[in-house]
């Protein structure tokens, strides 16, 4: 019998959507960040959202994790609208997702172990021993075995991110969100994180939505890429990293993936695509 969905599924050929974003518009006052953005996140895939600074990647992520309400549109998690959900339903959704924030966002007053134990003791009735074993396993998964009693301030930037991933994975979430995965990290640590993402995705089949600028990371980890644009106020490209690099005709997409300055004048770029 084939193992079904949940954390086990890694059958992207079926393209079963786990999150559906429908006609999403985000606005700060009169300033439209993006409008009418629609896409789907498929089970088991690693979806990377890219775009220049200020194009609304982080806003999109915040709406998808229920921290911000959109001006219009919906985000559906397995068919349930989370943008208009009650706090109780939103909390249930939040138990099915894990989020790694840019700085790791570990609670500085708690040790690494206490950080990871927090969701486990809050949402399960496991014994202290069982929680302890799960923490050790999660720390082993992110190569931080033995660091349970360290304070976040005693960890390096990369270690903090890995501890953040361990905390985000504490409840074995269906979807993991990463904001600026490798921002501010050295290349070796960034590669370690990339490998961790690939390993976790392959082993557990966890769906991942990642916001990043790092081209090398994108080529390595992304199954699919969405590109947002500040001027177009929306999505301008979607595809595998290779497709976007080799086949894109839009100068904005080409300049991003080829790491070149756009050659076309700004007015023209606005209307391309």
């Amino acid at each position: 019998m084939k193992l079904a969905e949940g954390v086990l599924v890694l059958d992207s050929s079926k393209n079963v959507p786990i999150i559906t974003v429908k006609n999403l518009t985000a606005r700060f006052g009169n300033n439209v960040v993006f409008e009418d953005v629609s896409f789907e996140v498929y089970k088991g895939e690693v979806l990377v959202i890219v775009g220049e600074s200020g194009c609304g990647k982080s806003t999109l992520l915040r709406i998808m994790i229920g921290l911000q309400k959109p001006a219009a549109g919906q985000v559906l998690y397995q068919g349930t609208d989370i943008t208009h959900a009650q706090e109780k339903d939103l909390n249930l959704y939040r138990q099915n997702i894990g989020v790694l924030f840019q700085s790791g966002a570990l609670f500085s007053s708690m040790t690494v172990k206490e950080n990871i134990a927090l969701p486990l003791s809050e949402y399960t009735n496991l014994s202290a021993d069982a929680i302890d074993q799960i923490i050790k396993m999660k720390l082993g998964m992110v190569n931080l075995a033995g660091y349970e009693n360290h304070n976040p301030s005693e960890l390096s930037g990369g270690m903090r991110k890995r501890a953040g991933i361990a905390r985000a994975m504490a409840l074995d979430p269906r979807v993991l969100f990463f904001d600026e995965l490798s921002a501010g990290l050295d290349p070796v640590t960034a590669v370690e994180l990339d490998n961790l993402i690939i390993k976790t995705n392959e082993a557990l089949g966890t769906t991942m939505v990642i916001v990043t600028h790092e081209l090398e990371s994108i080529y390595k980890i992304a199954h699919r890429v969405l590109m947002l644009d500040k001027e177009a106020k929306g999505m301008i490209a979607e595809g595998t990293p290779q497709e976007l690099k080799e086949q894109a005709t839009d100068p904005r997409v080409k300049s991003f993936f080829l790491r070149q300055l756009p050659s076309a004048p700004a007015e023209q770029r606005f209307y391309v695509n």
Binding site: G6, V7, Y93, S108, A130, K138, G140, N149, S153, D172
Partner: protein
């Protein structure tokens, strides 16, 4: 909202046990995850301990949902069984299940923590630690006062280096914004004091002394102390939190690397602003207290405004007002200095900011009371010798 599993996946887990002689076969089907972890591990352990098995085989072929916590629980059941000399095997794992089991590293589970958990010292140890902390704290504060005076001297010699806009900003924050609460509390204290003393004095027909008591107490002690405590709570804590957050965000390091002295840049405007506004606030508090007393005087004591004010003026001397304002300035210096010093002591994280903000207020109140006692004794002798 739920997370539906596959259509043909049973809504809950199912476990069937089969004994062949003394060999136990356990067949798992359905969903195995964090939510039902306690239940299914209890079921399996109960069956294993029911009678001494020669071997245990756990068949995972019908599992349709498994998470890493459930996989870990199965591995531990396997290990527990093996440790009791009962061979145990997990069989019929497909590729996805193998993937999940691959994240469980034996080394990580048995790895000893690099740091042991922090254990608390005994009573003697704690007293010792607290004493050392107090001593260090005193030295740090005195050192900071020294740094502050050096920075102040530099600013006085080079007035252009003073950040005037910042001084005005903190004058507004600590002074203008704090005025309503200072006046309100002063007024209420005057009211309460007049009312309570009226209740006692009326027994002796000494109502005429109520204005004297209220104005004397307000001007000499309560006005400066109350204002100082309010400023410690409002502004001392704000200074500590502001500088502390700047330390956490490495803004103080940035100032240093740009060649600025953080004490001169951050603390001097705050200290100067506080020293300027606290005496002014004290005057307002004194006046509000006298006004509060006057309200009771007029409504309950049948005194006229003129009588009340005359009685008040008789009691207060210029010496009292001047020393009260000097005292208020000293309080202001201490409050702002301790607020800034506690801010600079923050090292990392939100908890440190909270700790030192609290400490700034507590230490400021302690210093206010201590300094007030010193002033009381000192002023007694100053007045005595000046009379002689």
């Amino acid at each position: 909202m739920t997370t539906p599993l596959k259509d043909d996946c049973p809504p809950a887990y199912q476990i069937s046990f089969k004994w062949e002689d003394l060999n136990l076969f356990i067949y798992l089907a359905g969903e195995f995850g964090l939510k039902n972890l306690n239940a299914f591990t209890d079921d399996i352990k109960r069956e294993i301990s029911r009678q001494k098995a020669q071997s245990v085989t756990i068949d995972l072929s019908e599992i349709c949902y498994l998470d890493s916590a459930a996989a870990l629980a199965l591995v531990q059941i396997e290990k527990g069984s093996v440790s009791r000399n009962i061979p145990c095997r997990l069989i019929n794992l497909n590729d996805e299940a193998k993937g999940i089991f691959s994240v469980i590293h034996e080394d990580a589970l048995t790895h000893l923590p690099f740091h042991s958990e922090k254990s608390s010292d005994g009573v003697i140890g704690q007293v010792g630690q607290a004493s050392l902390y107090l001593a260090r704290d005193f030295v740090n504060f005195v050192t900071f006062i020294g740094e502050l005076l050096v920075a102040l001297a530099y600013t006085l010699r080079n007035p252009k280096t003073l950040r005037g806009k910042d001084v005005l900003f903190y004058i507004r924050r600590a002074g203008v914004d704090g005025l309503p609460i200072v006046v309100l509390i002063g007024l209420l204290m005057g009211l309460i004091m007049a009312f309570m003393s009226f209740l006692q004095f009326k027994q002796f027909g000494a109502n005429i002394y109520v204005p004297a008591l209220v104005s004397f107490a307000m001007v000499k002690e309560l006005g400066p102390i109350m204002t100082a405590i309010l400023v410690a709570g409002r502004s001392g804590s704000a200074f500590a939190a502001e500088i502390g957050t700047m330390v956490v965000n490495e803004e103080v390091d940035a100032l240093q690397t740009m060649g600025f002295d953080p004490v001169r840049f951050l603390a001097i405007p705050k200290v100067l602003a506080t020293v300027i506004v606290v005496p002014i606030l004290t005057i307002y508090a004194d006046l509000a207290g006298i006004l509060g007393g006057m309200i009771i005087g007029i409504t309950s004591l049948d005194l006229t405004v003129k009588t009340y004010l005359t009685q008040s003026m008789k009691t207060i001397q210029v010496f009292d007002v001047v020393t009260s304002l000097i005292k208020a300035s000293v309080f202001a210096g201490l409050i702002s200095a301790i607020g800034c010093q506690r801010g600079f002591q923050v090292r990392s994280g939100a908890q440190d900011v909270g700790k030192y903000t609290t400490s700034a207020v507590v230490a400021a109140i302690f210093l206010i009371v201590l300094t007030d006692s010193i002033f009381a004794v000192m002023l007694y002798y100053v007045k005595r010798y000046s009379i002689l």
